[in-house]
Each structure stands twice: as structure tokens, then as C-alpha cells.
């Protein structure tokens, strides 16, 4: 829809702009520039910092340009003595009680307050009264707070409310006593740290990175997050081959997530330089023996020899690996030995979905502007935080309808226009009800809901004129996935888009890279020599009995259960140490970039696999170049055809892979078998009424998150220390029990 264009005059120059745009955006876009603190795109307007004052003809006072919408014939002055005096005055007021301790402030060097004062502030300081002081303290193990630096722009409280739906941090007290904080002074929330990100000053600080280094000493590398399937773009700050922090600050990176990140993306990077990383290749020369450090040459030769000797080889990839690695593993299986089977370890396999895909995947931006969003199963808040944020903003700022189908209440269910609370484990029945109206009554009975609920959801969907987005989680089995993927073709006149709530950062990509894969259990059972990149899930590991296999080689960062059971362990490079790509649940293929050199003797996974392949006589022609691997991907996968690394260099314009769309596929078989399965669900069940605590999945201690000590405290109930001025890490043991005095003295000393 074309916007109406109108004329606005800024400092004597006339411009054509879209009617109703925020004046501050227009002024800044046209290169005039007004400072602001409280204005933040897509957050509720405040007009409280009063930095962006301009003079508009026919208006009595100076106006805050953030709340002014452009109207025709508007005449704006952004520079005059009066305005400059006002801007200097606001800067002076903001600095009045500000401690001006920039030399010891973590934000120094990338502080918006500092910059605005440099550009618009006064040279002289007139304030020489006592400053209102607040001690620097901790709000949680990972959020530090120096209240005195606060300018009360309240971006933090607004992102907490609008992005996260948490209301964990708020403004308390009144007037010049106003503070940002919480009841009791302790932050119990998902600890996403977005309040830290958007803070324009050094008030809210990253407790993991605090006092480690200065921002200008860090190299910034734009890369893709290695946790969930949302594929947030982030900036890894590293110095001297050490990762110090991760931010999404827009001065460094502008991806699909803007400045949004979740706790894992932002804080769980401690594993990269952790001392437990495997330092050299390890060989277990004899079953029952120990893993002994060795050289790369020996380890590769030893593994190649064993694989050669085996009767049948198997390859297991994991969906945290880059496309390059999974592709190389697939080639390893195809080209090194005939009959090698391969699998991808993931929370659930997306193959049935992509085989029946009848509409494009929706992007996160489309979610924000959708009209109706149907979320079937999953736990978006905890597993795909960016998607949850986009949904929340679509509902709050865009007035979208949210239909949530789940067996467990969640934060999002408070915002749903319709929360269909189903019996435990019966989410699939909703897909059946949508696909087969004749089975709707049966499905409703099994879900423990009224038929009217289904009809209401259907009506909302039918009345939707804009984008209708269907998301689904891991509850959907193969038939249900196939049926869900086919749903858009039943609504041909509608703008239906699909969004799989995939498990890991490269679930979609790994699924693309390994067509024809088998289940992990089949590959493990059918092979006597295994090459595993990454680790099996706990269930897969328990079922696999790796110790009984004649030969297992594992590429890993840490000596996990899987790695400890291997005969050869190759030290692999983490996402921060390797180049590659991940494909997220939007279908965007995004770059992973090397921020630091591989630690110790680690090598990127694809390189390890190709070294092993060349020892076995297969040359992939990669010449140790990730871009060559990607070229190989582009040549062998239709969806990635023609793509090269230079196409992916701009994170602000992510590139979609072209998943094949199947329209009019016959899924009646899948519907029938889904109906059969649903009919076997129990007729009555108790609903889950208790809402799990915020962070029950985000705070889980895993191989990777567990290397950041703060996660242990969060997972153990985030205890509030008596002394908020000292890091909780010094006051508690990892299990959440208070440290005894002598212990804490040693720790603090």
C-alpha cells in the first residue's frame, strides 16, 4: 500500500515524506540530527528525556520531535540558539546527578550519554552541589546495576514489558528519588539482558563481562547465535583470542533480531574459552584403555584405519553444526565408503514437514506484522525467544490475534486472544481438527475442549485478511507435520505462512543438508564404525551403547558422555572459531564468522571430516576454505543454488534459501493415520494448570551453558544474597547454597 506523501520543511529545506511518520525519524534520516534517549523504535513513546526538542511553526512551545507525526506543510527548525540552549540544558540536567565516572564505567566508549553530551552538551559544568548517590549493586547474578548513572529513559522497563512480557524491572519511587529496580531489589526473570543492551548509559551492566576490558579494545565480529533456531545476529567481542562478551548493539550488528538477544545468546559464551575444552586429539588404542593425547596426524590415521577395517560405517551429525559440516559429513558418507548410513541428531526431524511444504516459511519481520498467529504446541518463550518477542509485539503493538494451542500455560498465554488449553499430549489433535472438520468433534473431546473453541479459531483464521501464520512445535509427529505443512494449500486465497519451531540453531539447515537420512538409532545399530560430530542426546546415548561398538570417532568441544565413550576424539572448533553458515527457521542462511583462532589444537568440524576423508582417499577439493565448502553446498542442494559467501555478507539483508513448495499434495493418508492416532488418545485427563517458572528451560545447565557459572545459580533458584553489593558468585556455591564464611573469603580473596 502506497503511503500518502506530504511536504515537510526542515531548516528551510523541503522534503517529501510519508504522512504520519515520527518527525524524529525524518529529521535524522535527512541528516539534520536531534539527540534522544527515551525514543526507541517500536517501543511505546515517552517524550520524557526532552532531548529531541525542535521548534515547529504555529506551535507555542518547543516540541519533542519523537511524539510529533509529520503533517503536510509542517515547518521545522532543528537548529537555533533557543534549541541549542534547550539541548545543552537537558544534557546539563542529566549530568547533574550523574557520577561522571566514565574512566571506570564499562559503557565508557560506547555510551550514548557520552556521545550526546560530546555533540550537544555544554563545555562547562555548573553543577557543584552534592550528588544523589546510590551504591553499585547486583540485581541478579548477571545484571549489575549502577543506579547513579541512570538517566531514567526507561527503555529497560519498556523492553521488559513490551518485548519480554515480564514486568520484572520497573521504576520505583518518585521524582528525583526514582530508581529502576524491583520489589526487594532482586531480579527474578528470564535474565534476557535486553535491559542491559538498550541502556544508553552504564546503569545496567553485563555481570558476566563486567570490568573485563574496555569496549574499544574488543574486536567485533558479526556472527549468528549458536543456540536456538531463531538465528539471531550478534556481535562477538573478542580480545587476544578470547571471547569476552556478546552484544547485539546496533552500532555493531543489525540483524533480524535488532538489539534483542536472550540469556543464552548473550551470556552463555563462557564455554568458548573454557578450560575444559578438549586440547588435543585423543586416542583410545585399546578397548577398555584410556583416552591418550596424540597428534592430529596419528588420530586421523588411526581413525581412517579403523573405519577402513569396519564392515559398515555410520555418520551422525547434530543440528548445532554448520551447514558446511553437515554437508561434509554427508559427502563423507556418500563418497568414502559405499553403504554408509547417516543421521542427524535433533529434538525432532523436520523431514515430513519440508517434504509437504506448501507455503513459504515466514520471517520474523512478518510475524511482527501478522494479523493472526496460530501457535500449535512448542514453548516459544523458553525455546525460541525471538519468535516469542515478535509475537508479543505483533499482539501488543500491532493488534494481532494470537491463538495459542498448548497443554501448558505460559507467559504468552496471558496475551493470547484465544488460549486453547488442551489435555496433556493432545496438541496434534488440533492439527487434525483444522485439516479434517469431520473429525473436529472427536478431536475436541480428546483435547478436553469445547467444539466451539475450534470453530472460533477457524473463524478468526477465515476472517484474516493479512498474514496468517501457523507455527508448530516438537509435539507434532510425522503425520501431523505433513498435515500442518499442507494446511496452507487448503486456504489458497489466504496469505498463510508456516513457521516451524525447530530445536537448534541449524535444525533447518541440517535437515536440508542431509536428505535421505535415517533415524539416529538405526544408523547406530546398523554400523560397526561410527563418526559422530557433536554429541548424542541423553536418550540416544543411553540407547546406543557406544562402548560395545568396535569403533567410534567423535568431534567435540568437551569430553561429553558421547566423547568419553569414543575411541578417537577430535577437538572441534566452536562457532566463534569457525566460518560457516546456519539456516534458521525463517529459511535465512546466515553467516557464522570466525571471531578468534581455534583454541588449543581445535579445528573446524568440516575440516576434521574432510581430513579424515582424504586419509580414506576421497578429496572434496575444499583446500581448507569454508567458502569452497559452501560452493559445494550450492552446487549440490537445489535450495541453496547459486549462493556464495559474498551474497551473505550483509546481515541486514539476510538471504532466503528456496525450499521447494509442494502444492496440492495428497496428504489424505497422513490425515487418516493422524485420525487413528488421535482416536487412541485417552478420553479424559487432568489439565496442567501450573505455569512453569520463567526460565525453566532457558536457565537449564547444559554442556555449553554450564560453563558460565551464573547459570548454575539461576538453575538453582536464583537465590537473593544478603549483600547486594558483592557478586552472588562469591556468596553462593553453584548449587545455590550459601558459601560458608571462610570459603567466601578465599573466593573473594
Amino acid at each position: 500500500m502506497a503511503e500518502e506523501l506530504i511536504k515537510v520543511t526542515i531548516d528551510g529545506q523541503e522534503f517529501e515524506v510519508e504522512k504520519g511518520r515520527p518527525l524524529i525519524d525524518v529529521i535524522n534520516e535527512k541528516g539534520f540530527g536531534v539527540p534522544s534517549f527515551c525514543y526507541y523504535a517500536d517501543l511505546e513513546l515517552q517524550a520524557s528525556c526532552r532531548m529531541c526538542l525542535v521548534r515547529i511553526e504555529k506551535m507555542p512551545k518547543l516540541q519533542a520531535s519523537c511524539v510529533i507525526r509529520c503533517t503536510d506543510g509542517m515547518e521545522v527548525t532543528t537548529k537555533s540558539e533557543e534549541i541549542e540552549k534547550a539541548q545543552r540544558a537537558m544534557g546539563e540536567f542529566l549530568l547533574a546527578n550523574h557520577p561522571l565516572d566514565c574512566p571506570v564505567c564499562d559503557r565508557g566508549g560506547e555510551c550514548e550519554l557520552q556521545e550526546v553530551i560530546f555533540d550537544w552538551g555544554d563545555v562547562e559544568e555548573r553543577f557543584d552541589e552534592p550528588k544523589n548517590a546510590h551504591p553499585e549493586k547486583f540485581l541478579s547474578p548477571i545484571v549489575a546495576n549502577d543506579q547513579q548513572r541512570c538517566i531514567l529513559c526507561k527503555r529497560c522497563t519498556r523492553v521488559c514489558h513490551e518485548w519480554m512480557g515480564e514486568d520484572a524491572i520497573e521504576a520505583g519511587n518518585r521524582g528525583s528519588n526514582t530508581v529502576i529496580g524491583t520489589y526487594g531489589g532482586w531480579l527474578n526473570c528470564s535474565q534476557c539482558g535486553n535491559c542491559i543492551e538498550v541502556c544508553p548509559t552504564g546503569t545496567l551492566l553485563d555481570g558476566v563481562y563486567r570490568h573485563e576490558t574496555r569496549p574499544w579494545e574488543l574486536d567485533q565480529t558479526i556472527t549468528t547465535c549458536t543456540y536456538c533456531s531463531d538465528g539471531c545476529q550478534l556481535s562477538v567481542g573478542s580480545r587476544a583470542d578470547e571471547v569476552h562478551r556478546i552484544v547485539a548493539r546496533d552500532r555493531y550488528v543489525n540483524g533480524i533480531n535488532g538489539e534483542f538477544l536472550c540469556i543464552k545468546g548473550r551470556f552463555a559464551h563462557g564455554f568458548v574459552n573454557h578450560g575444559d575444552r578438549i586440547k588435543t586429539p585423543l586416542i583410545r588404542y585399546k578397548k577398555g584403555g584410556k583416552l591418550i593425547p596424540s597428534t592430529w596426524d596419528d588420530a586421523i590415521a588411526f581413525a581412517a584405519e579403523r573405519i577402513k577395517e569396519s564392515k559398515k560405517a555410520g555418520v551422525v551429525a547434530t543440528s548445532r553444526l554448520t551447514n558446511e559440516t553437515v554437508h561434509t559429513l554427508k559427502r563423507f558418507a556418500d563418497e568414502c565408503r559405499d553403504g554408509t548410513s547417516y543421521a542427524v541428531s535433533d529434538t525432532y526431524d523436520l523431514a515430513p514437514f519440508f517434504e509437504n511444504l506448501s507455503a513459504p516459511l515466514c520471517t520474523h519481520k512478518e510475524i511482527r506484522f501478522a494479523e493472526t498467529i496460530v501457535v500449535i504446541g512448542g514453548d516459544v518463550d523458553e525455546e525460541q525467544p525471538l519468535t516469542a518477542k515478535q509475537i508479543r509485539q505483533a499482539v501488543r503493538n500491532g493488534g494481532a490475534n494470537l491463538i495459542l494451542v498448548n497443554d501448558t500455560p505460559s507467559r504468552l498465554s496471558h496475551q493470547a486472544s484465544q488460549f486453547i488449553h488442551v489435555n496433556p499430549g493432545t496438541v496434534e489433535a488440533f492439527v487434525l481438527a483444522l485439516a479434517d472438520p469431520s473429525a473436529a468433534d472427536m478431536a475436541a473431546a480428546k483435547m478436553g475442549i469445547g467444539r466451539a473453541e475450534i470453530d472460533k479459531a477457524r473463524e478468526t483464521a477465515n476472517a484474516t485478511k493479512g498474514d496468517l501464520i501457523i507455527m508448530f512445535g516438537k509435539e507434532l509427529g510425522a503425520e501431523a507435520q505433513a498435515v500442518a505443512a499442507n494446511l496452507p494449500s487448503r486456504h489458497e486465497n489466504r496469505n498463510v505462512k508456516l513457521h516451524p519451531l525447530a530445536g537448534y540453531c541449524n535444525s533447518v539447515g541440517a535437515s536440508d543438508m542431509m536428505p535421505g537420512r535415517k533415524p539416529v538409532a538405526d544408523v547406530v545399530a546398523g554400523s560397526d564404525a561410527l563418526l559422530i560430530a557433536g554429541s548424542l542426546s541423553d536418550e540416544e546415548f543411553a540407547a546406543a551403547d557406544l562402548a560395545s561398538k568396535p569403533f567410534v570417532a567423535v568431534q567435540e568441544l568437551f569430553l561429553t558422555d558421547t566423547a568419553a565413550a569414543a575411541d578417537v576424539v577430535f577437538p572441534a572448533a566452536s562457532f566463534a572459531e569457525s566460518d560457516g553458515t546456519y539456516t534458521n527457521n525463517d529459511g535465512f542462511v546466515q553467516r557464522v564468522r570466525r571471531a578468534i583462532d581455534p583454541v588449543h589444537q581445535a579445528k573446524p568440524d568440516w575440516m576434521i571430516t574432510s581430513l579424515l576423508a582424504s586419509e580414506l582417499g576421497a578429496d572434496f577439493g575444499y583446500s581448507f576454505s569454508a567458502s569452497a565448502v559452501f560452493r559445494s553446498i550450492a552446487e549440490s542442494h537445489e535450495a541453496y543454488e547459486g549462493l556464495r559467501y559474498p551474497d551473505l555478507k550483509d546481515e541486514t539483508r539476510p538471504v532466503r534459501v528456496k525450499h521447494k513448495l509442494v502444492s496440492g499434495a495428497d496428504v489424505s493418508g497422513a490425515v487418516a493415520s493422524l485420525r487413528d492416532r488421535v482416536s487412541q488418545f485417552p478420553d479424559a485427563a487432568d489439565k496442567i494448570t501450573e505455569e512453569p517458572r520463567v526460565g525453566h528451560k532457558l536457565h537449564r545447565v547444559t554442556t555449553m551453558t554450564g560453563k558460565t557459572p551464573q547459570f548454575h545459580l539461576l538453575a538453582n533458584g536464583n537465590p537473593k544474597p544478603d549483600d547486594l553489593l558483592v557478586s552472588p558468585l562469591f556468596q553462593f556455591n553453584p548449587d545455590g547454597s550459601p558459601k560458608k564464611e571462610e570459603e567466601s573469603e578465599v573466593a573473594a580473596g
Partner: protein
Amino acid sequence: MEIKAIGCEPLQLKRMHIENGHTLDVYRQTGGYESLKKAMNMTSDQIIDEVKASALRGRGGAGFPTGMKWSFVPRDSPKPKYIVCNADESEPGTFKDRYLLERDPHALIEGMLIGAFALGVETCYIYYRGEYKYLIEIMDRAIEEARQANLVGKNILGSDFNCEFYTHTGAGAYICGEETALLSSLEGFRGHPRMKPPFPAVEGLYACPTVVNNVETLTSVPQIIEMGGKEWQELGTEKSGGTKLWSVSGHVKKPGVYELPMGYHDMEKFILEDCGGMLRDDKKLKACIPGGSSVYAMRADQIIGKNVTLDYEGLVEAGSMVGSGGFIVIDETVDMVDSTKNLTEFYKHESCGWCTPCREGTDWLVKIFDRIWAGGGRPEDAQLILDLCDNIEGKSFCPLGDAAAWAIQGAVKRFPEDFKKHLLQNGNGAGTSGS
């Protein structure tokens, strides 16, 4: 304390001295609820036109024409509409509404009912300042009486007009006297003012069209309907219609609430005769703040012999404003640095903290006054204070910042000799202990 009308028949103060004036029976015996009946036979437009013709201006302090405010309410809005009475009387020096609420609650109910009938409102809230708890009890009883008499609730007086009344309480925040902050507070949030536009008439309480009026404004409405707008206006001047209540406190013999016709002549007579003159006969008048603390203070020589009329235009001409009509009379024993320090502390305490200039500016100014009072005044302080006031005025989010700036600017500009005394000492301590 005096409560009386001077220069006119008591209209607002009609029932102040009648025994049980707060009861429905007495209210009706003295002509109560007749205006409502009259209004219910008029059309919406007729009612609003009468209010417009009366030149009634908001009595809370801003003085916005009431009829105009009412006419902004979209009549065809599908959303529910609200009238909220602003009984958050907190302007220092102002206490008129308290007596209206205590002794004539039915006048408020009737005024709100007429407004509700005109604007199609079915729910009315009366927002009291938290300290006025005993008044809420009086009002709750009055509402209950009116309900029994079919004046509140469903099918009022047998018509199809429904209107429900509720009392609500604040909890100690001057800023909630600002209409949008009052609405935030009524919704259970911090009392921060909201952006205008949208104005409350379009998006107010619960994002629905809302009229917020001061108590005295609403209690004037029944009189206007009874007398006719034009006639009511003629009690006062052309632009300032009717009569107005003035609260008088400070150094006078007879502090109290006085009803004067608009355009009353003159201010000198009012203070020195009507209010009984100065509290202590040997102390001369030094200053008077005529409109609640938030307006420019006037020097005695701006009042005495200057023929200042008491109405919106007259006070502006004399260098101040009507505001909420709270006279604070100050005699020569008061050091204006001390009194300004006191008011600055008030504004700092009551600043909501939303916008930078008001929050930080008042905090800074209090610190300067503290330093001056402790004997650390510097010659450049007067200029600094004026400059800070200038930096607050017109730049703050809501008028509280302006109010603070005016109160302080007025004192510094008009009483330089008091400031000089402190500032020229240059750190040698002219201050006295305590404040």
C-alpha cells in the same frame, strides 16, 4: 475560618452554613436537583451551549473553558464515556473544594449528572486526594441517598438515562491533580502525566472519551442551568463568567473561603478589609501569591493602590494568574528566600520524575537553596536560579515544571533585595537554622 460570599449572593456557598446541607433532604429543600430536571428536558447541544454561554472556565488552575472541553467529546463514539471529577485538591494555598465536598456533596453529584446527561456518560468517578478520606465517606453516603431517590443508577427519574457514581482515592501525589496523571492513577498506575494529544476528551480513562473537571467547575453547572448561561456569566465579566471561590491563608486575620464575583474590585480591599487585614497589625503586607503556589508572587506595591481586579484578565495584567485561586498572604517578617526554598522543596517532592528538566531541575534548585540557606550563597546564584528556571519552563512534559519555574522566577525577580542579602554574604552565613 471564614466561609462567605462578598459582593454577590452566595451561589457556591449557598449551603455552607445550613444545618445538614450535605443531606439530600436539605439539598432538595434549597432547590437541589431542579436543574437536573430542567437539563433532562433540554438537548445535549442546548446544555453545552448554556455552559459555553456562561464563560465558565476550569477552576482547577488551568482555566480552560468548560463548555469547549465538553464539546470535544465525540458524541458518536462506540466506546463508553466517562466524567471524572478532579477532587485531588493539592495546590498549596487551595482548600475550597474541601468545603464543597464536605458540606454540599449533592451539588457535585447534580453537576456531574447534568454533564453525564449532556455527553451520554454512564459512569462517573470522583477522584479524591488520599488525605481526604473522611470526605469520601460523606460522598459515599450522598451517592447512596441519591440512589435511593432514583437520582443515581438506572432509569434516573424514570427516564432512560443511566448513570453510576464511584469514588476513588489517590494516595498523596500533587501531580495527580494534572488531568492525565489523574487518569493514570485512576487506572492503578504511577501518576505520570500522559501525552497530549490524544486529549482525554478523545482518549482518556481506559482509552475512552473522558471529561475531567474540577469540583468547583462541576458544582457551578447546576447554577448555570438554573439561571441560564448568559445570566450566570453576567455575574462576572465577559471572559470570566460567574463567581469564583478564593481560598485565603497566611498572614490575614480571617483566612477562609470567599466567594467573589469575577472581576471583583479590588485585590487590596479584599486582603486588607474583607479578610480582616494583616494578622499582626504592626506587620505590613509584603507579598501575596494569588493563585496557589504555582504562580508569580506579587509584591505589595503591585497590589496596593493598583486597582487589581480579581478575574483571569485582571490578574494577568497585574503580573500574576488566577490559577486555583489560593491566596497566600505573606507579611514582612518572611524572608522570600526561605519561602521560595519551601516551595521549591514542595515541587521537588511532588515532581513525578517522568521528564528530565522537572526531575533534575527541581532537585538541583533545592540543593542551591539549601546551600544558600546554610550560608553558602554566591552572587551568581540568582542568575543561575533564573537560568535553571528558564531551562525548565516550557521544556517539561507537563505544566508542573512550568509551575515550579514560575513560583521561583517570580520570587527571584520581584524580591531581589531578599536574595541579595543572602548572596552577597558570599559564604559567610546569613542563614538561620531550621526551615
